[in-house]
Amino acid sequence: MAFEEQIDVTSHLHEVRTSAIKNFENKGFPTKKEEAWKYTSLNAILKNEYSVFPKHENAIEFAEVKKYFLHEIDTYKVIFVDGKFSSFLSATTHDGIDVCLMSSALTKPKYKMVIDEYFNKIASKDESLTTLNTAFANEGAYINIPKSKIADKPIEIIYFSTGVENALMVQPRNLVIVGENAHVQIIERHQSLNENPVLTNAVTEIFAQKRAIVDYYKIQNDLQSSNLIDNTYISQKQESRVSVHTFSFGGNITRNNLNFYHFGERIDSTLKGITIIGDKQHVDHYTLVHHASPNCESHQNYKTILADSATGVFNGKIFVEKEAQKTDAFQQNNNILIGDKATINAKPQLEIFADDVKCSHGCTIGQLDESAMFYMQQRGIPKKEAKALLMYAFSNEVIESIKIPELKQRITKIIANKLGVNLGFDL
């Protein structure tokens, strides 16, 4: 036992990190010259001098940040403040399931086998920001739900930035392993507490084993001084069902790289999102579903409302390999522009090498339906409220598929707030 404690468990990571940093040094930060980053420029936000290792440990009171939690229900909590784990705000567990922090999984011998098997196994070894994270990240959430276990309550992962540093860069790394027939619901959030700039470069790896069910919700409602690059990689085995909902309302520049990879038949993948932004906010959804085996389904539904000078990007790639016969891949992207200077760049990309598949995509860009506006005004509802109701109705399809009722209510409230009106009834 004593010997085991002394093994340098981090040494096997050394190689991983070294090759990651080499890759990043070769490539550097992505620029608009790259096809995948054509519509999103990081230039402006990279001008800040970010501190990577905060000098102080910063404590925050629960009362200050309660509103960012789903406090109506009991949850497991893995909470970080300026990149450091906060045991005070967290509620972790090792009782049947592991909900804890990455740093201990990376350093404690008992997790070595799992880390060897899963860490950095689905994340890209090529994409520069992912490799930057791989090179340096040592903290985040570690979640392991063993075979046939069901996490008895949702897990909240929240990264707070206190703004004590002038500008902070954080690189969270989450690893989620969900065993055969296991089930988990996870909510992830990044939140700054003051207006000092923050750049978050997060990587999340999710492994869903046979028949596992994973529901993952990302709430992006940060201050407009914050920037987020979210890289999520999902590996799915036979008959697993994974859904990721991304709610993007806040932040300055937000980029979501969401990648699904299939390893088995009858897999179901769901990618949904609601984006409602204004001012000069920018949200870029870059999705990939890689169909590699027969009889799998994927469902994508992204709704975007852009006001003022906001810009949105939707790049949805569906790749169907030759072996992936009977694939059913669906992609829907609806956009409403309510600002004269708002722009959306929408680009569906279907690469299909199998001949017996059902793949469809639909993309619409429009303004609010005038006949619907007139209908509501005719019932005495003023233009502003009528607009809000219509925008709510527009995003409703995605809201409806949130499986945690309290979260559904929370998202609805955020949307009502975002639309700047009291919708006049209890939603």
């Binding site: 005004q377 005495g380 995003s395 006049g424």
Partner: protein, 249 residues
């Protein structure tokens, strides 16, 4: 009550109404009939304030007040109700929540507080029973997946809740089977009193078997070319519109 004077209107430079005059008094039921393309729906949209139409000449008064400069919601809150031929679907907003919003906006516009919840519930129950709507219907998303009959019944339910001064029923009979037609007409008749008025816009005489008009007007090519009593509707049903054309020539 509603007074339309020499109304001329166009959409995208196409002249549709060419001088409409119409006087509707409290307690009366008027019907406007006419062939397709005569301008019937345009007239109802313009009374309700649809901004897609250009009013080039003439006025519309409600109880002596000129409506010309008022937005659709202002007209609504003063008592103009239009039952739409094609009601709009609003996913995620229930029938109940929508009507609550509408009622409270009207009260706000008239300087009243919001209606207390229990009073609202009582009113909703009472009016939905009048239209023979079941409770489940009220929690469904507004018009989403509704049959033609359900949509029209829901329009009249909203009318019952809002108690307008002037209710315009635009082709309310289209898409209705005979039972739905009876329920809708029955609802309108029960809501009718000496302080309000109804304007029925229809292509066919069928609805007028149930909602008996005091006056029937024939609208052709943007003008009211003939007016009469309820019997005129029957005559039109029997003979069509061509005889009026030849009478005019």
């Amino acid at each position: 009550m509603l007074s339309i004077k020499n109304l001329h209107a166009s959409v995208e430079d196409k002249q549709i109404l060419k001088g409409i005059n119409l006087e509707i008094k409290a307690g009366e039921v008027h019907a406007i009939m006419g062939p397709n393309g005569a301008g019937k729906s345009t007239l109802s949209s313009i009374i309700a304030g649809n901004e897609n139409y250009e009013v080039s000449e003439g006025e519309i008064f409600l109880d002596g007040e000129d409506l010309s400069e008022l937005a659709p919601e202002e007209r609504a809150n003063k008592g103009v109700f239009l039952s739409f031929q094609y009601p709009v679907e609003i996913p995620g907003v229930s029938v109940t929540n929508f009507i609550k919003t509408a009622i409270n906006e009207k009260r706000k516009a008239n300087g009243q507080d919001e209606m207390p919840a229990n009073e609202m519930l009582k009113l909703i129950r009472e009016k939905s029973e009048l239209l023979e709507m079941d409770r489940k219907f009220l929690s469904r998303s507004l018009n989403e997946g509704f049959s033609g009959g359900e949509k029209k019944r829901n329009e009249i339910f909203q009318m019952a809740m809002l108690e307008p001064k002037i209710a315009i029923l635009d082709e309310t009979d289209s898409g209705l089977d005979i039972d739905a037609l009876r329920i809708v007409a029955n609802g309108v008749n029960k809501l009718k009193n000496e302080n309000n008025a109804v304007l029925v816009i229809t292509h066919y005489q069928r609805l007028l078997d149930y909602i008996i008009p005091d006056f029937v007007h024939v609208l052709m090519d943007g003008k009211i070319v003939k007016s009469g009593g309820a019997a005129l509707a029957l005559e039109l049903e029997e003979k069509g519109y061509d005889w009026i054309k030849s009478e005019l020539n």
